[in-house]
């Protein structure tokens, strides 16, 4: 029995047989070429780049559907390298000068960059070398017309042991046949570690000489929680880990068993469980995880990475697609929430001392009714294709709400004048994320169809804490008694006015806190798709009455940490 210590990259425990993956080495021939071959070699290079680009974009699509948008964005760095002008120009100019085959030249240029980067003392750059190597290998493979033996088609369930795994390798893995993996190099924030977490494959990285100490076929225990690997464990160790593994896997399976069932409490109260999305192509992931609707559809991405303004048609097409895909389930579109921390290149926004207290969200929209009304018209037009609702972000008082609704009425009038169909009764909600709105929720409730609590901003404003500021981040406490009281106040006001109230902040997807929210009477929870199965399971394991008792007790504590501890203990009790 031998123990190897590494870095815990993705939690969980796996027991299995070692499958060692060698480095992918290419033998690139060095061939002299004549002047007449140069255009052909350039064309070969261009074709390889195009093919690689297509591969990466396909990979991104798949990852975005299976894991999420954030994981897919890892490959944005690959696309940047692929399209890099300096790299491409250098290959072409050396091709003309040295008159050698393009595969050889490309490999030389790639080596040069990697060696320059290796000499710079910088953690971030070290990780980027992995990206450059990964995309470089793809290009070389395509230049040489070779196929990569993928980790996607392993015959049996194994533990992969490798010196290093590229994000592409990791993306090809499947939980079905990869029980865990171990790499010699890599850190906690490497792309490979991030993807392992999303794939829920236990992983230990940075295990130094694991590939030397482990032989093909060794029995391994990967403890991704503690960051250790046990090679050829004795019977006793093996037994204890096996039962631990089964317990962990049992929990996950328990959650998955609930994903397609309705979220009904043991005493028969149905709760709405929705997903937050930013891009239309996230819809398949929502359905896959058992999401019943979209509780927050962010619409800022139309404005990112472009110089011009999106057209009404751009908005309409995206909303129509999501509405149709989710029909008959509801889709709540949040109108533009630009400003604050969101970059916006189209508008000259003056530098602000306190962007979160500044010209953003509904304030910006009311000042630019041209942009706002265009979006509202698009939402209205799309409303005939499904169950669309809309909500305004960052409402701070009822006047803002009335102004926004007035513009909405104008938009309806314009559509009517043009004989364009829309749903007259489209539901309109207000996001409650400013303390002034929370305190006047009773006034606001009379003029909207629903509330959605934006807990991230509500906490930040209520506690006067910028979560991105490391020095004060510890004060950001969703369980702070002030936050719980505000939320209770909002929910009570909504129910008094007979309207529904949901939440689309991170808090709604935290199982322990969700128990309290359920007890406070929250009607709808919206969260990242991956969390849905666990939340559904949780709601199906408790009565509303029990949750109410938990909420009642939670409100009695005087500090956030006491509430947190209490909620976690209750959660453990339920999931036991």
């Amino acid at each position: 029995m031998n123990q190897i210590k590494g870095i815990a990259a993705a939690t969980g425990i796996s027991v299995g047989i070692a499958y060692k993956v060698g480095k992918e080495e290419f033998i690139v021939p060095r061939q002299e070429i004549g002047d007449q071959d140069i255009p052909i070699q350039i064309q070969l290079f261009e074709e390889a780049l195009i093919k690689t680009r297509r591969e990466i974009i396909e990979l991104q699509k798949r990852i975005s559907a299976e894991m999420g948008q954030e994981e897919a964005q890892i490959f944005d760095a690959h696309l940047l390298v692929l399209e890099d002008r300096m790299l491409i120009e250098e290959v072409i100019s050396r091709l003309k000068k040295d008159k050698l085959n393009v595969a050889f030249i490309f490999q030389e240029v790639l080596k040069k960059y990697v060696s320059v980067f290796s000499n710079i003392e910088d953690e971030y750059l070290k990780e980027r070398i992995a990206d450059i190597n990964d995309v470089g290998k793809r290009i070389l493979r395509n230049l040489l017309g070779k196929e990569r033996k993928g980790l996607g088609d392993l015959k049996e369930r194994v533990i992969v042991v490798a010196h290093d795994l590229s994000p592409s390798d990791t993306a090809a893995m499947h939980k079905k046949n990869v029980a865990g993996f171990i790499t010699d190099i890599g850190g906690k924030t490497s792309h490979t570690a991030i993807m392992a977490k999303s794939l829920e494959i236990p992983a230990v990285v940075g295990a130094e000489d694991a590939t030397v100490k482990i032989n093909q076929g060794d029995m391994l225990i990967v403890d991704g929680t503690l960051g250790i690997v046990i090679v050829n464990p004795d019977e006793e160790t093996l037994e204890s880990y096996r039962s631990e593994e089964l317990k962990l896997r049992g929990v996950t399976e328990k959650f998955l068993s609930a994903k397609d069932l309705p979220a009904i409490t043991l005493d028969g109260n149905q709760i709405e469980i929705n997903a937050n999305i930013e891009f239309p192509d996230e819809v398949p992931a929502v359905k896959l995880h058992g999401g019943e609707g979209i509780g927050l559809y962010r619409t800022e991405f139309f404005y990112m990475n472009r110089k011009d303004l999106p057209t009404e048609e751009d908005h309409y097409q995206a909303y129509k697609y999501v509405a149709e895909e989710m029909n008959p389930y509801p889709v709540i579109i949040r109108t533009l929430d630009l400003g604050g921390d969101k970059f916006l290149s189209q508008f000259e926004v003056p530098h602000e001392m306190h962007p979160f207290l500044g010209w953003r969200a509904i304030r910006f929209c009311l000042a630019r009714p041209d942009i706002f009304k265009l979006q509202l018209r698009a939402i209205l037009r799309a409303s005939v294709h499904g169950n669309l609702k809309l909500m305004y972000p960052m409402i701070s008082g009822v006047e803002e709400l009335r102004q926004a609704n007035k513009i909405l009425e104008e938009a309806k009038g314009e559509l009517k004048a043009k004989d364009m169909p829309f749903d007259e009764d489209v539901q309109v909600g207000a996001m409650i994320e400013v303390p002034s709105a929370a305190m006047t929720a009773d006034i606001l409730a009379k003029e909207v169809d629903f509330f959605s609590i934006g807990s991230n901003d509500l906490i930040q404003y209520a506690l006067a804490v910028d979560r991105a500021n490391e020095k004060v981040a510890y004060l950001y406490e969703p369980t702070h008694p002030a936050v719980l009281r505000l939320i209770k106040h909002i929910i009570d006001a909504a129910h008094n006015a007979d309207i529904n109230v949901g939440m689309c902040g991170e808090m709604a997807g935290e199982p322990g806190l969700a128990l309290i929210l359920l007890g406070l009477g929250l009607d709808e929870f919206s969260m990242p798709p991956q969390v849905i199965p666990e939340l559904k399971y949780l709601i199906r394991s408790i009565t509303l009455k029990e949750a109410q008792e938990i909420a009642h007790e939670a409100l009695e504590f005087s500090t956030g940490s006491e509430v947190e501890e209490f909620a976690q203990a209750k959660l453990r009790g339920i999931l036991k």
């Binding site: 940047l80 390298v81 890099d84 002008r85 710079i120 910088d122 750059l125 290149s345």
Partner: protein
Amino acid sequence: MSVIRKQLTVKNRQGLHARPAALFVQVANKFDSRITVKRDNEEVNGKSIMGILMLGAERDSVIIIEVEGEDAHLAIQELEKIVTSEEDK
């Protein structure tokens, strides 16, 4: 055709790395102007992620951006914002 040279101090917490470097290159590529970035004796193409990363410009390092072309004015404005912004976005 105008050429604009501007000396700037990198204010971003992460330096001209990670997201800021990617953002810099993405924005630079929106413009037709030729964009060069210099630091000490290194000179690289501002539209190249490899180039920008190679500069290794940490926070508080001084770089010179040189922009040449029709849209130079707008380009320098947007690039300056990225370099001098303290946020990591």
